[in-house]
């Protein structure tokens, strides 16, 4: 192939970007190596710190180059081409940056660098600096390699964001790239319009900062194993862990808010694998934070703290694998596509599990044996296959060694924990969190389990998650409410019950008084199962218990001081989130009741026949407490808005205008049509609507008016009448070209013709002859059209037993009136949930500040 001399390509900047990628990788590697050596030889510290700073500069360099390229529209680069275009508003440039996999890895790397630099400063000259930064650097080595885009043999390592379009395997042979001046002809594909909103500018960076921050307790825990000092790191890591709880929590809730406001999930939480995989690390890091507090105040819980801190980060890695390897396939609506990095992601997850187990084994003989055998197994898997078997053997033996390490290396408490002690209840709470996290992980991993064991299980539906989480949440609520009233070590049972009696009595009275009428009365209509009924009432009451108990503790024990009440406020927030989620989900009511439908609930509880309402333009219909009118649609850009007016029955039954909602459908060139809800917010409820079906075409052009709308089906026999909007169509006769016997004999083809006679209101008569053809046992319907009336018939089915035929009728768009199909729900008290989110964030923030203050005070004393 002759080489083309391309005009106008800006080669240098891409090379600069790739240089930074290489530099960041090499510097991270050097930093890892030198911090490792610095654990023993302190004269390497200076070099190690410089290496980490060079890595930091390189990462910022990559980001800067990518931004310059996006900002100046260098479409000859694949990343810029795929994620931006000229027409796009510049305020979305950040979203372009992290829309792709490479960009989101970069975001993660960036936050790790920021946290690493701060941590390095904080830990300077301590025994923790070298091992913690060593772990940080190692993670950075792996993350930086995700951008390398180099081949070793057939294995591709990472995906380089600085590839030219003509170098990229998906694009290199598109025609426009054959012309030398292609650069001037290009415009980018642009950002996915669904992501063009403010949530996408703030949600990913928050979430990724949350993911990054789980690295800090992980690095400390591994450093502790490395240093054989299990005791000394918790006080330094605690503020970081609380920070992680705060940021990751806010990130997840932002995702929920985005789903509620802008996506048509029909709620704020859908147990989607992508949502779950950010929730699970959060649950575990919360558990870790609490065992750290136990350890700090009373000692003990050493193994659990290490285990949780390590597991949380490993679950972040596992989530990355789940959502980015394409393994979820059909199970998730918004996982990334496979970039061919599945193998690499699996390798990373396994490497860090391996590393954690290896460091856990303090006996050097056992450790070396484990390392050697693991590496041998890995080679065996590469060379001979049996990957699943080897993975199984390795996993089981690693698990066995973890249990062994727990018994052998970790100091045990001499005496048993008291039942009435704060540490026991907090510990129990942490275990419940861990257990819920494991169950959610198990459910989310069904596609992985299918792959591993050759099963064909379907991923569980949201209600399965809800039902499983109910008892755990009740348990958590009771523990959170009561634990603060217990002292560390031992509390007298009588005093304890006396102290919680106030909150307990209040919540029992309020809880039962509210929840029993809410759930039991009128339940014949709602059909809540007994299991759910009991747990709704229990959860309602126990969540109130948490709220009251923490208020009580805040005011009677902490004397209302805000600075010390971080935990109480965060716990109140958490209980309100639970309460808001419970009420708004369990009492979610469908306003758009479909009165016309036949009942399909006989098919099972999963079938719900009251979902949608048809609104014809101009007509007014009752819907829930409202009267609604569909006014019409309008188009703005690629969004189609459907304006629906809501009226309330006013005085003397005259409808009074209340408000207008305009749910929309985005005609997204990349993802197809996606509905966007519109919600009316009240203090105590939300009216949430979205259009599930609507005709999008705005044009009154001939092409549109002459197109046919959806078919209606008619079942009947000769002599029956089909009603069209502009004519009565009589089935005149049904004729076959041969008898059944002849057909079986000749075994070739039978043609059955329906003679249809359409009579208009002006008594004009038209005929149509749709045919039902069986050829070699395959049915091929042949349509027929009455053009002057805009009617199309398909004769598609014969039911010999009933003696009926089925014919569908579609009419030209010009025949019909405009309509939409709408779903409308009422979410009661969903604001309780959002208030809870804000309180939890504030409370955790206060706790971070307080812990930092305490840490400073301690450090001050010791220096």
């Amino acid at each position: 192939m002759e080489t083309i001399k391309y005009i106008g390509e800006r080669i240098f900047i891409g090379q600069l970007g790739h240089f930074f990628v290489m530099l960041s990788f090499v510097a991270a590697l050097l930093s890892f190596g030198s911090f490792y050596l610095a654990c023993k030889k302190s004269d390497l510290f200076v070099f190690a710190r410089i290496a980490f700073k060079i890595h930091a500069v390189a990462v910022i360099g990559i980001i800067a180059v990518l931004f310059i390229m996006l900002f100046n529209h260098y479409f000859e680069y694949q990343y810029v081409f795929q994620h931006s275009n000229r027409e796009m508003d510049m305020k979305y440039i950040l979203s372009c940056f992290w829309e792709g996999q490479e960009g989101s890895f970069l975001l993660w790397t960036f936050w790790n660098v920021v946290l690493g630099l701060i941590l390095n400063k904080q830990l300077k000259q301590t025994e923790w600096e070298a091992p913690v930064l060593m772990i940080f650097s190692l993670v950075q080595v792996f993350l930086a390699s995700m951008l390398l885009g180099i081949y070793i043999g057939d294995y591709k390592i990472g995906s380089n964001p600085f590839l030219l379009l003509r170098e990229h395997q998906d694009f290199y042979n598109i025609p426009v790239l054959q012309s030398p001046d292609y650069v001037s002809k290009l415009s980018g594909r642009g950002l996915n319009p669904l992501l063009m909103n403010y949530w996408m500018t703030i949600h990913p960076p928050t979430l990724f900062l949350g993911f990054s921050s789980t690295l800090v307790p992980f690095a400390f825990a591994l450093a502790a194993l490395f240093n054989r000092n299990y005791q000394g790191w918790q006080k330094t890591a605690l503020p970081w862990t609380l920070f992680s709880i705060l940021v990751l929590g806010v990130g997840i809730l932002m995702g929920g808010a985005w789903a509620y406001e802008a996506l048509s999930f029909g709620g704020f939480w859908a147990w989607d694998p992508v949502e779950n995989s950010s929730l699970v690390p959060w649950l575990v890091i919360v558990a870790a934070g609490h065992t750290m507090i136990i350890n700090k105040n009373k000692g003990g819980s050493l193994f659990t703290t290490h285990f949780l801190a390590i597991t949380s980060f490993l679950l972040v890695l596992y989530s990355t694998f789940l959502t980015r390897s394409g393994v979820l396939g059909n199970a998730s609506v918004h996982s990334f596509t496979d970039l061919g990095m599945t193998g690499q992601l699996v390798l990373y997850v396994l490497t860090f599990i391996f590393l954690s187990v290896a460091l856990l084994l303090s006996d050097s003989l056992i450790r070396v044996t484990y390392v050697v055998i693991s590496i041998l197994l890995w080679f065996a898997a590469l060379l001979y296959g049996y990957k699943k078997l080897i993975l199984g053997v390795w996993s089981v033996s690693s698990l066995g060694l973890i249990v062994y390490a727990y018994y052998k290396y970790f100091p045990k408490e001499k005496e048993e924990e008291e039942l009435y002690s704060r540490e026991f209840w907090m510990f129990l709470g942490s275990i419940v969190f861990l257990l819920s996290a494991l169950i959610i992980t198990y459910f989310t991993s069904v596609p992985v389990i299918n792959k591993l064991f050759g099963l064909d299980k379907a991923p569980p539906k949201p209600y399965v998650y809800n039902e499983w989480m109910l008892p755990f949440t009740v348990l958590i609520m009771i523990l959170v409410a009561a634990a603060q009233f217990l002292k560390y070590k031992k509390t007298d049972a009588k005093t304890f019950y006396k102290r919680i009696s106030k909150a307990g009595a209040l919540s029992l009275v309020f809880g039962l008084a509210c929840s029993i009428p809410l759930y039991v009365i009128g339940n014949e209509e709602n059909n809540i199962s007994v299991y759910n009924l009991i747990f709704y009432i229990l959860l309602f009451t126990s969540a109130l218990f948490t709220v009251f108990a923490n208020f009580d503790y805040w005011f009677s024990v902490l004397k209302g001081k805000v600075g010390k009440a971080g935990a109480s406020i965060a716990h109140i927030g958490f209980a309100l989130i639970v309460l808001g989620a419970l009420i708004s989900t369990s009492k979610k009511t469908t306003l758009s009741k479909n009165t016309a439908a036949q009942k399909v609930s006989s098919l099972g509880t999963e079938f719900d026949d009251q979902k949608s309402i048809l609104l014809t333009q101009g007509d007014t219909l009752p819907m829930g407490p409202y009267l609604v009118t569909y006014k019409g649609k309008r188009k703005e850009g690629i969004n189609y808005y459907f304006d629906v007016d809501y009226f309330k029955p006013g005085a003397s039954d005259k409808p009074e205008y209340d408000f207008t909602l305009s749910p929309s459908v985005q005609d997204n060139p990349r993802m197809g049509r996606s509905p966007e809800p519109d919600t009316k917010h009240y203090l105590n409820r939300d009216i949430y609507t979205h259009v599930t079906y609507g005709v999008m075409e705005m044009d009154t052009s001939k092409a549109y008016l002459n197109a046919y709308s959806d078919a209606k089906n008619f079942i009947g026999h000769a002599g029956d009448t089909i009603i069209a909007s502009n004519a009565l169509v009589v089935i005149d006769s049904i004729k076959a070209d041969k008898t059944k016997a002849e057909y079986y004999k000749s075994d070739s083809e039978i043609v059955v013709t329906a003679v249809l006679k359409a009579i208009t209101s002006q008594s004009k008569v038209y005929y149509a002859y749709p045919q039902y053809i069986i050829k070699n046992n395959v049915v091929i319907p042949k349509e027929d059209v009455i053009n002057p009336l805009g009617l199309k018939f398909v004769f598609w089915k014969i039911n010999p037993q009933e003696g009926t035929v089925e014919i569908t009728l579609s009419e030209k768009n010009s025949n019909t009136k405009e309509f939409i199909v709408l779903e409308a729900y009422m979410f009661p008290y969903i604001n309780v949930l959002w208030i809870g989110c804000i309180l939890m964030a504030i409370g955790t923030g206060i706790a971070v500040r307080e812990r930092l203050r305490l840490l400073k005070a301690v450090n001050h004393q010791t220096h």
Partner: protein
């Protein structure tokens, strides 16, 4: 026996319970013939839309009923009644996953997942 050991045993019991119950209760992927043999059980059936057969949607009569014909991965075509409104972009779907039960030769679906060619796909054929 320590309290913590009791906690540990409880965890193991719950974990085994979860695995056992979920293996028995969750629906699984199947084809139409398996669904037809077990009319009481819910299945996920994967297949493709049969475009030669009519798609019927009459929102004036019932906005929550849409019927079409799907061919499963074994090539068996069955009539499907989806008890929901007609999904957007239905015609463009490359692959369909139906969730529901088979009753007297008709598959009644309570939910549908569609794979559309461009959904989150940064791939090919989108240059214009």
């Amino acid at each position: 026996m320590k309290k913590l050991h009791i906690v540990g045993l409880l965890i193991i019991a719950v974990a085994i319970g979860v695995i056992f119950i979920s293996l028995n209760n969750t629906s699984s992927y199947a084809d139409f013939s398996k669904a037809a043999n077990n009319p009481e059980d819910e299945f996920h059936v994967v297949g493709k839309l049969d475009k030669t057969q009519p798609q019927i949607y009459e929102p004036q009569i019932n906005p929550d009923e849409f019927s079409f014909t799907m061919t499963d991965n074994n090539g068996l075509a069955k009539r499907v009644v989806l008890h929901k409104s007609k999904p957007q972009d239905f015609e463009k779907s490359e692959q369909i996953v139906l969730i529901g039960k088979m009753k007297s030769d008709v598959f009644h679906a309570n939910d549908i997942l569609m794979k559309c060619p461009s959904k989150y796909n940064d791939g090919k054929n989108q240059l214009n």
